[in-house]
């Protein structure tokens, strides 16, 4: 835990579930899970704990893909929703 009381790391599974539940209503649970796995593999994100920076990199990659399917507005709304959930868990995002 950082001095400010803000967590800098998040449990991998918790974070991926958070993303999955946010994007599944749009692209379906299958595609959400498969896409998350694909990006984690490509980005070598295998640690049981993600740093805030790793979370942002993953979100950025996902957002680029989501743009193509659901447009920029809906993608932004999803990313904001995930950020909000992260803040609720005490993870600071830029």
């Amino acid at each position: 835990m950082a001095e400010s009381g803000i967590l800098s790391n998040i449990d991998r599974q918790m974070f991926l579930s958070m993303i999955e539940s946010a994007i599944s209503p749009y692209i379906g649970a299958n595609m959400a899970r498969a896409s998350l796995k694909m990006h984690c593999d490509r980005l070598n994100l295998f640690n049981p704990v993600f740093t805030a920076e790793e979370c942002e990199i993953l979100l950025e990659k996902l957002a680029k893909g989501l743009h193509v399917f659901i447009g920029e507005h809906s993608t932004l709304a999803i990313i904001q929703e995930i950020h909000q959930k992260m803040e609720e868990k005490g993870i600071h995002v830029a």
């Binding site: 749009y26 692209i27 379906g28 595609m31 893909g65 743009h67 193509v68 507005h73 809906s74 709304a77």
Partner: protein, 274 residues
């Protein structure tokens, strides 16, 4: 679900049911008093033609709104523009048929100027489907494994072989003018070319089950498959002069445009959402 959305769903469902209820029984009981006294051929034309025009216009408009809803540098934007333009050309073609049928009260000739719009509209749809395949494939999201795409290709090859052997090849054996032959062969061949990327997109859409995008693509792709079936049957029926199956064609075309308009509406709503 909001009352507004319930109302929109009800409109599409009512239109689809009305078309099915009006036309399908005619294929089975063409001499029933309902079809000789109430739903006469003229009355049915006044039902089907405006329905086709209305939903084609909606499909073109919603696809255009979707195109406008994406940012200028979004790689999927040209696909939506091409889809919208294709349906707008279909709308113009259908309007020409309507002019013959509803204003001049004569059967629409074949070939007619409408064929130019239907033909070029189909070319734009083919382009748009490939643009979707390319944009979705490069999105970085998982749109299906290579094996599943290979399987789609194999199923498509089987279907295409069957259609070429059973439907397209027999068209060559019937005496026709050069223009009739060109169109009677051209439509099914173009449709076969169109169905291939539709198969690939359908495979991708399957991975979206449970999401709102599944709704978008299941409606659009089912609609495209319905009208390609209509085109292929139309060529076959017109060459071999099967008159009693016209109601089936009306059902295929009208329901196709209703489904496509429904799918494009969901997508337009999605990209406009803030």
């Amino acid at each position: 679900m909001s009352p507004e959305r319930l109302g929109i769903n009800a409109l599409f469902m009512a239109a689809l049911l009305a078309i099915l209820a009006a036309f399908l029984p005619q294929a089975i009981w063409p001499d029933s008093p309902i079809y000789t006294e109430v739903l006469t051929p003229t009355a049915l034309l006044f039902l089907s033609s405006p329905v086709k025009l209305f939903f084609l216009f909606l499909a073109a408009s919603f696809a255009f709104l979707t195109y406008r809803g994406f940012a200028p540098n979004n790689p999927v934007r040209p696909a939506w523009l091409s889809l919208s333009s294709g349906f707008f050309l279909f709308f113009l073609g259908q309007a020409i048929l309507g002019w013959y049928q509803l204003i001049r009260f004569i059967p629409s000739p074949f070939p007619s100027p409408a064929d130019f719009f239907f033909f070029s509209g189909t070319v734009l749809l083919i382009l748009s489907m490939w643009l979707f395949v390319a944009a979705y494939g490069k999105s970085g999201l998982s749109v299906g494994s290579r094996a599943s795409f290979l399987l789609s290709g194999i199923i498509y090859a089987g279907l295409a072989s069957f259609l070429i052997y059973k439907v397209i090849a027999p068209l060559l054996s019937v005496p026709q003018t050069r223009m009739e032959l060109l169109l009677n062969l051209g439509y099914p061949i173009l449709d076969l070319v169109l169905i291939f990327p539709v198969f690939l997109l359908f495979r991708s859409a399957l991975t979206m089950r449970g999401g709102v995008l599944w709704k978008v693509w299941s409606f659009i792709l089912a609609g495209i498959l319905a009208f390609t079936a209509g085109d292929i049957l139309y060529s076959h029926f017109s060459v071999f002069e099967y008159k009693n199956l016209d109601p089936l064609l009306d059902v295929l075309y009208a329901s196709s445009y209703i489904l496509i308009a429904r799918g494009t509406l969901v997508q337009a709503d999605l990209v406009r959402r803030t």
